[in-house]
């Protein structure tokens, strides 16, 4: 076992301080070995989490489970915000074992951050592709930060595949495929959430993730030109 690994659950504590005076807390706990979401025991998932309720296009779990694991995870988060308008100002504080992040933002932005973790730790085979990223979760990531993290993660994954004797995907075509499937999940989940919410904060949070997700294949197809400038000093001699 790696000496860098931690044994206790990984926790992300989110605190939303809304400008209407509401304080909303969430504790996200992840299994330190599998990075799987650790649910609270006393929870009855709502109707809209059933697998056949607005299923995602190409859902691999459709005939295999009763409930959509992504929806079940999200249902814990979205309830307090179902009447909240997306652009409601909020201070969102995120505490991890190592540091604290805080940002004056909107509810939709804060929710987007937390929903991102819940989706990729849910055991949905499509979203699971990004699960290792949650170990170093970066709240309120910008599109550029997201691109850097995702590309780095995927290339590191290819490094390990190559080390293990597999065929690495250095041109990142597999990443484009992953994001095409993720895009379908984002669309499906936003439809479910629309049915469960009376305002737009929850849906818009997924929409933000979707817009990031839709950009990744575009960036990859453009050979990551958007972040190439960071590496120019190492490329000069090769021109």
């Amino acid at each position: 076992m790696s000496s860098l690994r931690i044994a206790s659950p990984i926790t992300y504590n989110y605190q939303f301080s809304l400008n209407d005076g509401r304080e909303i807390f969430f504790e996200i706990r992840l299994d330190p070995n599998t990075l799987e979401f650790i649910p609270s025991s006393d929870f009855q998932p709502p109707e809209w989490t059933k697998i056949d309720f607005y299923p995602c296009e190409g859902c691999p779990l459709l005939d295999k489970v009763q409930r959509c694991p992504v929806a079940v995870n999200l249902s814990r988060i979205i309830e307090p915000f179902k009447h909240t308008v997306s652009h409601t100002p909020a201070v969102v504080k995120v505490e991890t074992e190592s540091r604290v992040y805080s940002k004056e933002t909107t509810v939709q932005n804060g929710l987007s951050s937390i929903i991102g973790i819940c989706m990729v730790t849910s055991n949905c085979p499509v979203m699971d592709e990004l699960r290792p990223l949650t170990r170093y979760h970066l709240p309120f990531a910008t599109p550029e930060e997201t691109l850097f993290r995702v590309a780095s993660y995927y290339l590191l994954r290819q490094f390990f595949i190559a080390k293990d004797g597999g065929t690495p995907d250095w041109n990142l075509s597999g990443l484009i495929e992953i994001y095409k499937k993720i895009s379908a999940v984002n669309v499906g989940i936003s439809r479910r959430i629309s049915q469960a919410s009376e305002s737009d904060a929850n849906v818009n949070a997924v929409i933000i993730l979707h817009s990031y997700g839709e950009s990744i294949p575009f960036f990859v197809e453009n050979e990551l030109d958007e972040i190439r400038y960071l590496f120019e000093q190492f490329l000069k001699d090769r021109k």
Binding site: V85, S86, H87, T106, Q108, N109, T142, P143, S183, N186, V187, S190, R191, S194, S197, S199, D200, V203, N204, V206, I207, I208, H210, S211, Y212, E214, S215, F218, N222
Partner: protein
């Protein structure tokens, strides 16, 4: 030329990602975070062809912004974006003039297709408008020749070219002459209107004493008013400063306002033609001007119709002295163009059932 798109969304990451994708498709892109900012960007960027407009935003929401955009910039296409599928809102937006409606999350390829479709339709509509306008303009110019010939022929007949006319023939010829004059004047007005819209009108400006001019005009309208059993009152000061103007065009404006007042007056009402010196604001400056006003005690204009009184093809249903009529108010649209081309302002105040006052101010040359 590249098309320019304005993206309006309160979420920065959405603006960023959409901008990136649309720029990659060859569009110029500007962004705004809410409705207020969008209106400001539209003012700053007259080249904008299409607006992608979120609905739920702080400060000014998308529906309010849509109302203002379609009113101020009627040729710009608007596609609404919302994260909350609400078809009642969608229908409301389409009724208010949005071209299309997309529910988020949006597939960018789908968005690009819709944007291109809207821009293609806009471009075809503009081409069609230009073609129609050019055809219309040629047709009207072709009409002018025969109309002028009719006028000169009538004149020759009146002068005895075809022999002595009986009283009945003189009366009938006078009737034909007045109809021909009216038709000629209206044809010229329509040609002028299209020139104003194309920006190709040329004004022939000379100094004019509006007081002397209005005194002459009032002589004619006193007779017309009397014939219609209407009173005619003049409110003129002893003198006013001269203005620099195209006399024929200003004559058209005054005649249009007086014709309009006569048309919509109630029986036994009084029409007032007035003149005053005044000041008005333009581009933050106070400008000295001369104001002409025409007041009637007619049927008035409903408050909801006041904004469109000077619109082209504005058809209003009125109960005038002559009964119910549908009037196409071309002449008021032209009057507005003429006054504004002189650097002036035109306005109307009205109380339904009590009458209207049309005013225009022309700047006094310093």
């Amino acid at each position: 030329m590249k098309n320019t798109i304005l993206i309006v969304d309160d979420e920065e990451s959405l603006r960023l990602t959409l901008k990136l994708r649309l720029t990659a498709q060859g569009f110029e892109v500007v962004t705004a975070a809410d409705g207020e900012e969008a209106l400001e960007q539209l003012k700053q960027h007259p080249e904008i062809d299409l607006v992608l407009l979120d609905i739920n935003m702080p400060k000014m929401d998308g529906i309010e912004a849509l109302s203002q955009i379609t009113q101020i910039y009627p040729t710009i296409e608007v596609i609404m974006l919302t994260g909350f599928a609400d078809f009642t809102t969608a229908i409301e937006c389409l009724k208010k003039g949005a071209k299309d409606y997309l529910v988020k999350p949006i597939e960018v390829t789908e968005l690009i297709t819709r944007v291109k479709t809207a821009l293609r339709a806009r471009s075809s509509e503009n081409e069609l408008k230009k073609l129609r306008s050019s055809f219309f303009s040629t047709f009207l110019h072709d009409m002018l020749g025969p109309l002028k010939t009719i006028e000169s022929t009538i004149e020759q007949i009146k002068e005895g070219l075809t022999g002595h006319l009986s009283n009945d023939q003189t009366v009938l010829l006078g009737y034909i002459e007045s109809l021909s004059e009216r038709l000629l004047a209206r044809t010229r007005n329509v040609i002028d209107l299209s020139k104003f819209e194309e920006g190709t009108i040329e004004l022939n400006k000379n100094p004019l004493d509006l007081l002397t001019f209005l005194q002459a005009v009032s002589l004619r309208y006193e007779i017309i008013a009397k014939g219609k059993k209407l009173g005619f009152k003049k409110e003129f000061p002893p003198s006013v400063p001269q203005i620099l103007c195209d006399f024929d065009r200003i004559d058209t404006v005054v005649n249009s306002l007086l014709d309009n007042a006569i048309q919509y007056s109630k029986k036994n009402g009084t029409i007032t033609l007035g003149l005053t010196t005044t000041t008005f604001q333009q581009d933050g400056k106070t400008i000295n001007g001369v104001q002409v006003y025409v007041k009637d005690e007619g049927i008035g204009i409903a408050p909801e119709e006041l904004d469109s009184v000077f619109s082209k093809f504005k058809a209003t249903e009125h109960h005038s002295a002559g009964g119910e009529q549908k009037i196409t108010q071309f002449s008021l649209a032209i009057a507005k163009h003429i006054v504004e081309a002189h650097g002036g302002v035109i306005s109307v105040e009205s109380v339904l059932g009590k009458g209207s006052t049309f005013k225009f101010i022309l700047p006094v040359q310093s």
